[in-house]
Subunit: 230 residues, 4 copies
Amino acid sequence: MFTALKQRVLEANLLLPHYGLVTFTWGNVSEIDRQQGVIAIKPSGVSYDAMTVDDIVVVDLDGHTVEGVLNPSSDTATHLVLYHAFPALGGIVHTHSRSGTVWAQAGMDIPALGTTHADYFYGDIPCTRPLTRTEIDTDYEKHTGDVIVETFRQRDLDPMAVPSAVITGHAPFSWGKDAFDAVHNAVVLEEVAAMALSTRTLNREIRIQQALSDKHYFRKHGANAYYGQQ
Amino acid sequence: MFTALKQRVLEANLLLPHYGLVTFTWGNVSEIDRQQGVIAIKPSGVSYDAMTVDDIVVVDLDGHTVEGVLNPSSDTATHLVLYHAFPALGGIVHTHSRSGTVWAQAGMDIPALGTTHADYFYGDIPCTRPLTRTEIDTDYEKHTGDVIVETFRQRDLDPMAVPSAVITGHAPFSWGKDAFDAVHNAVVLEEVAAMALSTRTLNREIRIQQALSDKHYFRKHGANAYYGQQ
Amino acid sequence: MFTALKQRVLEANLLLPHYGLVTFTWGNVSEIDRQQGVIAIKPSGVSYDAMTVDDIVVVDLDGHTVEGVLNPSSDTATHLVLYHAFPALGGIVHTHSRSGTVWAQAGMDIPALGTTHADYFYGDIPCTRPLTRTEIDTDYEKHTGDVIVETFRQRDLDPMAVPSAVITGHAPFSWGKDAFDAVHNAVVLEEVAAMALSTRTLNREIRIQQALSDKHYFRKHGANAYYGQQ
Amino acid sequence: MFTALKQRVLEANLLLPHYGLVTFTWGNVSEIDRQQGVIAIKPSGVSYDAMTVDDIVVVDLDGHTVEGVLNPSSDTATHLVLYHAFPALGGIVHTHSRSGTVWAQAGMDIPALGTTHADYFYGDIPCTRPLTRTEIDTDYEKHTGDVIVETFRQRDLDPMAVPSAVITGHAPFSWGKDAFDAVHNAVVLEEVAAMALSTRTLNREIRIQQALSDKHYFRKHGANAYYGQQ
């Protein structure tokens, strides 16, 4: 029934090894069909090499499987929280890409240090607070989504202007208007995370000028954008 | 006689260059057949490019060759000590993979800093104490195995919950329920070693929360695991 | 009309992903035909995979399109400033290559630390001063070119002896006698930027001896060059 | 006349891009035929992609071309000094491989930190003293060879036990019993240089134990070697 959606989600998942963002079965991509009230997502623990469109799992917005025989990604509950809280999201990606994960492990925001970052992310990519023991022990994956939402609300961030977060002690989540846009943002996150890591070995304090960040972000986004063929 | 075992060990050895874990002839993989009382292991100093199933050497648990014409890996005695001491081990891998070797050279445990680590290793990957001059001069490879066993016993570690160690001044050993599982763990060790190296340039002290380590380890291992298709 | 020029510029642009200098549509190469009074340049935001010679845009030296239907690179104004100010330039490259961008983000010159650098760059690769808010808000891309020209004039640098600069908070520009020479210099910049980053982790102060820099630069450049088959 | 020698030198040179040790035309490999009193070496500034056996240049031990139409490598004089001073050398490699060059730029020996190093190099890989201005200005390439020889004599090093050096402000030279052995050592140098760089970010002081260095070196070299199939 959901073949087109599942095909897109399969292709977006296969981009993760293509871009070097995953090892083994790590990582997952989903996309939502808000009219049908479903998301399609990678199955849990299945190899990218062997994955077919029939392996993709379709679940409703309460997480019940409506199509597919495999278990959905163990991170499905995190995806659902984000789709519920952020109506503009069309696709979500989770990876343990190396440099993004390093910032998550360090418990630090990925700082906005240059125009590569500013072209895609309006300000720092936030790192969530540590979960409490209670949040970890019960409904862990749901609470991972909750702490992302809490972070964006407390800092008054627009999730479409800062389409990623890193989870303390864990790894990044990225999103976008659809599954492919989310993967695109996950690739950029990894690149700016790597650049920021090396920049910090030369200069512990420097940040991008606010005016330069504004310029680069808004020449690609919003009503006055002039980058590309729009 | 041991063709199936040798074929598996050949294939597992060929995964080492596939995953970028070895240079030249470095590294080796073995697997044990506990019923037959033998292990199959890579020959010493033979190129992965040219290796065939006939080159794999089968030795008994005292290290005497029972099938094959080449010398077994010079590290065979280390493998045998581990198989004797840890009955759950089915396969063992030794590599000089870059980041794992860096932690060994630094004489430091690979610290558990995130869920990537916790998904596979329950706590730090231990670094062994330096061998004494006497241990190095006589039966060096056997003593390398002994010091791994000593480390796990002194720290009361379960070798199947922490399926790797790094040897001071040397490099990692990894293991698993069979040769392929051991290679899998060697790949993960290299990835978490690289992540930990970069994390330490940002934050010298941080560690993963114990509750988060527990959560990730036990959602993949043991009776209550829910990751994957089990 | 400008097919040969556009074909060269297409090929030079395709070298950027070949050498690993770009992600997605980032980066651009141009070449000038000074007799015809035009430059050919990459279109804005177009994928390298799909780019054909018809996508390359030809603009006059005031930036008006004379051939092509797509928008030229958003950085076209920067290229034009450099071609106007530096008559020896035949080709220009802009990338966000990782290590070069790190030095730009750190706001630091790429220091001349060895003969690899000295073979191509006579002295440090300069980092421009930050642009003012006014320079950023109006005619940003033109001002990016202006600040490169200002840097070379204030430091009395020959742009053909130091064929690159890094822009504070942004990324590198490189150039050369034609588009292919410019790409060549962009590859070298990335390599020496990476080497310099690691060198600074070992030694914060060291620099190449001036006599050694002279020797290597002038064995490859100028009347007394003896490197190669000239 | 020297077709077989030139063919070997061609193949050994082509291994440099295969192993990722060179960018563009950088680097060169030579091999000596001591009975004929000649060396074959890469031509200067020629691309590896296009190189054929006819491009390889044969020069006598005074550096005069005896076969070939191209200029020999600009580093030929360095090779000749080493062949004259060290009678055991059969092949020599020069590269600007990234991590080896970093140690050269830092003006530091590559320290022996682990068994990967000890398997091939008996002790630190020495860094030469800076050349004087006079040594640079006249017969620079010859003096580069001289300072390597001086370093080995002053430190009483056996060039076959430590088959590499790094030149202050420049890059590594490696050698071996023939051209292929020299390339092998150049690959190992790059790997141990990279490992040592990262190890020093964790631990600024640690070194390999002397007994462990002895053990690994002598299990692969000399009368009592037992590694491999010898």
